[in-house]
């Protein structure tokens, strides 16, 4: 603590969980946009990760409300937000937007994986039961039904983009509309959140796809990752420009709040905001991705560059969430001082719980892949001449 802080501001009320929540919904929105690049915009080269990205969006979406529930003082009353919504509140939209988007992604997934599930239902064991329940025991498919499925998928992929923007932009709006907080209160917040979401979504897909391919000995699809790398470069330029624009415009206007915000940036957030978020985790990936987009490196070099840049951008977006959510609460509403905050590890809203919540979706994604393959057969071929068996191999060859 430093300077004068109002007595009820001794501690920060939105902590690690509220940093994690927009991070997860950002991954959802970004991953969904990638899947739509293929399903809607016909970017054929994205095909190896198109299904995987939708699967990732779905599992992250399932877990997006969990940090909120952990944070709520009365999680058992969570459904009040849908039963007695107060529509003058931006937050009241959460239940409806979230549910609608979850349904949309679930239905799109169902149509995309229908053929695979039919194949699964013809097999045996536990997954056969799951597939039959999911398919309502209707195992028929024809060329006509596939064409219908495809039309529905395109429609949902199209509808899903504005909804992804709504789900995630709404989170930005939630912060941006708080006039009591000078660090949050800007209409740019909405746009910044959307673009940083897309950046984190593309980054997590590159990171995860390359990791899985390496672990399974698959050949990485160069056209796919190079294209994703270029998209990542483009979207990160927009996202970071907006982040810079936001702070520069407040600084240039020299309005009343700048006095305290300048102290916040120079003093309290210097390391996490200036050094880490901008100088290290924005500038370095920008240069790496730029080099990779402008010059033709050997595949191995290019892949390493892409993977490192993706990991760094994943951290950049997490830092950005941290600096917004926590940074905003450090400024006292007296404009005369700062609160301090250090997350605990083993408390209810601590780092350990955050790590668990963030890890479960990856495990779920693995189970999903055991059920129906998230990658098309051509993406799961070995890098070397010796073909290694991949899960689940029988139905695909």
């Amino acid at each position: 603590m430093e300077g004068f802080v109002f007595p009820n501001e001794q501690s920060v009320v939105w902590t690690v969980m509220i940093v994690l929540y927009p991070y997860i919904t950002g991954l959802v929105a970004g991953a969904f946009v990638v899947s739509s690049l293929y399903h809607l915009f016909g970017r054929e080269e994205i095909r190896p990760v198109a299904r995987f990205s939708l699967g990732a969006a779905f599992v992250f979406l399932l877990f997006a409300p969990l940090p909120l529930l952990v944070h709520l003082g009365h999680p058992e009353r969570a459904f009040n937000i849908m039963i007695t919504p107060n529509f003058s509140s931006a937050m009241a939209g959460f239940g409806y937007i979230y549910t609608a988007y979850l349904l949309l992604v679930a239905i799109e997934i169902w149509f995309i994986f229908r053929d695979e599930m039919i194949r699964r239902a013809g097999g045996g064991g536990f997954w056969r039961l799951v597939a039959r329940v999911a398919l309502l025991n209707d195992l028929r498919a024809s060329e006509a039904s596939r064409a219908t499925d495809h039309r529905i998928i395109r429609f949902l992929a199209g509808l899903g983009i504005p909804m992804a923007c709504l789900l995630h932009g709404y989170v930005g709006f939630l912060f941006g509309s708080i006039k009591a907080n000078p660090w949050w209160s800007t209409p740019l917040m909405f746009v910044i959140f959307i673009f940083s979401a897309i950046v984190s979504g593309i980054a997590v897909l590159i990171f995860h796809y390359m990791l899985i391919a390496r672990l399974n000995g698959w050949k990485i699809d160069q056209a796919c990752v190079r294209s994703l790398g270029r998209f990542l470069w483009g979207f990160m330029i927009i996202a970071v420009s907006l982040e810079v624009l936001e702070v520069v415009s407040i600084a240039y206007k020299q309005s009343e709040e700048w006095e305290i915000l300048a102290r916040l940036i120079e003093d309290r957030l210097f390391f996490s905001y200036i050094v880490l978020q901008f100088l290290v985790f924005s500038l370095v990936p920008f240069l790496l991705l730029g080099l990779n987009a402008l010059f033709r490196f050997r595949d191995a070099v290019s892949n390493t560059i892409l993977w490192i840049a993706s990991v760094m951008l994943l951290i950049q977006v997490l830092l950005m969430r941290w600096n917004v959510v926590i940074g905003g609460q450090l400024v006292s509403k007296s404009y005369r001082g700062f609160t301090s905050y250090m997350p605990g590890v083993f408390e209810r809203e601590g780092l350990a719980v955050a790590v668990v919540i963030f890890t479960i979706p990856f495990g779920l994604l693995y189970l999903f892949h055991r059920f129906v393959p998230l990658f098309p057969p051509e993406a799961m071929r070995g890098a070397k001449s010796v073909e290694r068996p991949v899960v689940p191999s029988t139905e695909l060859h």
Binding site: P7, N8, H74, R77, T84, P85, N86, M91, A92, I178
Partner: protein, 260 residues
């Protein structure tokens, strides 16, 4: 049954029934709830007609001596948990360089730290400012409450429905005056109620009752004979952070520019 087990029409009918019934239940649920929320019982029993009142508050900063009685009374009356404040008193000392030093009375005794401020020599100005919920006419906290647990009563008081609050703390973020907190015992939003349980039965709020210098005043803006109205008509007053458009109903007499 004559319907074969794999007839897709049957499944479609089933899905349709499921969706329709869910929608129906939801619609009926909303209706039931809106009827319930439309007419909450007025407080204070049958004797209190809340349409005849519009409560407001005034603080005369020239009169406050920083004794902390109001803070102790509030804590006792409303069972405010330690470390949190429904009301507090700020001490301002402006030094020779026109720099303001601010601190508050703390602890159960609500006393000021004698050593917290710069030496007396060269002090230009000293004064106390009591703070509490402003019960804004255009209150941000009730605007942003996602479930409608924070609300304004018809007689102008901002309250929290303890049975309904989910404890999301969005209102704590939104209040520009930092008068709200999450109660560590009940895990819901907590704040000054103007001692609603007292004013609706004709008693003054605890802080007003114990203030030895009459620095704290309350009154009914709908009553033309009310003393508070007379004071507001006679004296110049200011609001806290008026630029935010919250329209507070807590009026400050003799407020210094340093106070936010």
């Amino acid at each position: 049954m004559s319907v074969p087990p794999d007839d897709p029409a049957d499944r479609r009918r089933f899905l349709r029934v499921v969706v329709q019934s869910a929608g129906g239940f939801f619609f009926v649920g909303c209706l039931a709830d809106s009827e319930d929320a439309g007419s909450p019982a007025p407080p204070g029993g049958a004797a209190y007609d809340w349409d005849k009142f519009y409560w407001a508050y005034a603080v005369d900063t020239d009169r406050c001596i920083g004794c902390g009685s109001c803070m102790r009374a509030c804590r006792a009356e409303n069972d405010v948990p330690e470390g949190f404040y429904r009301t507090w008193v700020e001490r301002f000392e402006v030094d020779a360089a026109e720099e303001a030093h601010v601190d508050i009375a703390t602890g159960r005794s609500a006393s000021f730290d004698r050593d917290a401020l710069p030496p007396t020599a060269g002090r230009r100005k000293s004064f106390f400012v009591p703070k509490l919920c402003n019960h804004c006419k255009n209150s941000v906290c009730s605007q942003v409450c996602p479930v409608g647990a924070s609300y304004q009563t018809r007689d102008g008081v901002v309250l929290v429905d303890a049975q309904h609050c989910v404890g999301c703390a969005y209102c704590v973020q939104a209040c520009p005056y930092a008068t709200r907190f999450i109660n560590p015992r009940s895990h819901i939003a907590d704040k000054c109620t103007f001692c609603y349980h007292r004013i609706t039965v004709g008693l003054p709020p605890a802080c007003v009752l114990v203030c030895p210098t009459k620095a704290r005043m309350y009154g009914n803006l709908k009553d033309r004979q009310d003393e508070l109205q007379a004071i507001l008509h006679r004296r110049r007053y200011m609001l806290l952070k008026p630029e935010l458009g919250t329209n507070p109903k807590c009026y400050y007499l003799g407020l210094d520019l340093e106070v936010v």
